[in-house]
Amino acid sequence: MVAAAQHPNITLYTYSQVESVGGYIGNFEVNIKKKAKYVDYSKCTGCGICETKCPTKKVPGEFDCFMGERTAIYKPFAQAVPNKPVIDNKSCKKLIDGKCGVCAKMCPTGAINYEDQDEIVTENFGAIVVATGFDLIEWGKFYPEYGGGEIPDVIDGLQFERLVNASGPTGGKIKRPSDHEIPQTVVFIKCVGSRDVLKAKSYCSRACCMYTAKHAHQVREKIKGSDVYIFYMDVRTPGKMYDEFYMRTREEDGAKYVRGQVSKIFQDGNKVIVRGEDTLVGKSVEITADMVVVETAMVPRPDATQLAQTVGFSYDRDGWYTEAHPKLRPVETNTGGVFLSGCCQGPKDVPDTVAQASAAAVKVVAMFSKDQMATNPQIASVNEATCVGCLLCKPICPYKAIEAKEITERAHGETVTRTVASVNSGLCQGCGACTAECRSGSINLKGFSNLQLLAEVDAACL
């Protein structure tokens, strides 16, 4: 993280979003919205005095999966990069009703600026790499039988990560959310929302088998004498040192793997009861637990499809971004100059994410190794002599490649100007949709022309 921030060739725009993308491969024009941070980063030294003085202290912290609290002016976590705060305008008293202003008074460098505004910058790029990652499924919506997310001590994997994390809300002590007691019996349930065609997602989320083993190990390591149960369908450990890791969790840590599904979870006093079945012995089981961790499906970010539409590339029915070819072009999209990196393309763990990230980088660097690039010549072209300028083709083009153009010509001894369609060769992707629309047959696709395709049809129908 720090390496990225310090690299002379990398510019970070945090708290920012892509608003719109124009242009095409090699020449994108991108509008980026930099959201108001209310802190002038050229003055702020990151000392953090503002955070300690801010009286608005009870804002549920996103970074800690809402299990901890933060101030209105905050850094998401202590090692944030850049290590400077932003003011959350939804909870800051000064920004809501003008009553506070403590941070501005305390800041030794005068970095606070309550007048800060969102800003749009326009920049040019040759290539775009999308690396927007994943979210966890809102499992409560899909599994009312597991308490629908209402039982405080039934948490998801990311919440668990925050509980074991030394910089998390509990300082790395595993304490359950309801009463901050240390749980003695912890149940993990794998594949919640994954591989469940009927209720949620059909796919496997790939990282959970392994991180569940990690979580089990962490509980056994940190809570002496604890009992750990893991409900599973099967255990998938394809990776270097993966199966070994899993076997250690089973054999050395003594985590108890129960093969079967959980049918019900409910609160009973200060305990959480987990009912399920052990299909290996063919019996139903009931475990009285102190805390339950559901290891849930990875899903795309909530705004993933919107971003895909803004940039202009495709995604699948689950919202994962689609690669151009599953085997041969795994980091390219079907849109020239747009590449994929990490979990936005589908669930994966860190080793796979990093491998794919470097692969995407190489594709970009290869593109940048030449000063100019050849364009696909199989694009649309307009026969200006017959084009009547109706522009029916214009709205059809999915890539906004068709524009009206004025031409002047001599007709009957006079100079006349008329409108015709004109194709931008940089934008045209050669789909040919326009050709089917043109009533006068004036727009044709090179390499797949009307004549060429009709010749094929004729030959095939013999």
Binding site: M1, A3, A4, H7, N9, I10, T11, T14, Y15, Q17, G26, N27, I32, F63, C65, P76, Q79, A80, P85, N124, G126, I128, V129, A131, T132, G133, L158, E161, R162, N165, M210, Y211, A213, K214, Q218, E244, L307, S341, G342, C343, C344, V350, T353, A357, A361, F368, D371, Q372, A374, P377, Q378, G447, S449, Q452, A455, E456, D458, A459, A460, L462
Partner: protein, 194 residues
């Protein structure tokens, strides 16, 4: 009229084991415009391509049909090959005798052979109407945008930056790091997340 060369590939036994390639070759010789027909064990191989290049030159072929596998797989290969022979790379068409024929009609070799002829006829008909196309060149802005600053975005950005190009990371949150920064230790090595 164009002089069309047709190169029929056996693809080892992938095509040749089902489709009667010599019979197809015989039929293809009668198709209008076809000036030359050649069979090959593996057209995409080095010797296969060389034979093609040589034939194009020797027989003054000006448009090519390669009847082999899917154009999604090898069209670029054969475009390059005909280019070395001095032809415009857009003067090639492929007939997909493998994915669309021998592999899916393995139990009916006669019908597969008839279909193979039809597929070649179709390709020959198209090639007869092809015209040379020329690529144009557009300048490349050597600056990359990375959307999302998780471990994936950071790694991509570092690699591009290390090779000397400018990179901008646009991150929605106030910090980069993504999920990885939220993790404690990571499998399989159990080293730290941040």
């Amino acid at each position: 009229m164009k002089r069309i060369g047709v190169f029929l590939c056996w693809c080892g036994s992938n095509i040749g084991g089902v489709v009667d390639v010599p019979k197809v070759a015989e039929a293809v010789r009668t198709f209008p415009g076809v000036a030359f027909v050649q069979e090959n064990k593996y057209t995409c191989s080095e010797p296969g391509q060389q034979a093609m290049v040589q034939a194009i030159k020797e027989h003054k072929i000006d448009a090519v049909v390669v009847a082999s596998c899917s154009p999604r797989m090898h069209l670029p290969t054969f475009q390059k090959a005909v280019e070395t022979a001095g032809l415009n790379p857009y003067m090639v068409e492929m007939a997909n005798l493998r994915e669309h024929c021998s592999w899916v009609h393995a139990s009916e070799p006669e019908n597969a052979t008839t279909k193979a002829m039809d597929l070649v006829r179709k390709a020959v008909a198209k090639v007869a109407k092809l015209e040379p196309l020329f690529e144009s060149y557009i300048p490349v802005t050597k600056r990359a945008l990375v959307i999302g600053g998780g471990i994936a975005g950071i790694q991509t950005a570092l690699d591009i930056a290390d090779s000397g190009h400018q990179v901008v990371i646009v991150e929605k949150e106030a910090t980069i790091g993504g999920r990885m920064a939220q993790l404690d230790k990571t499998f399989p090595t159990l080293d730290c997340g941040a």
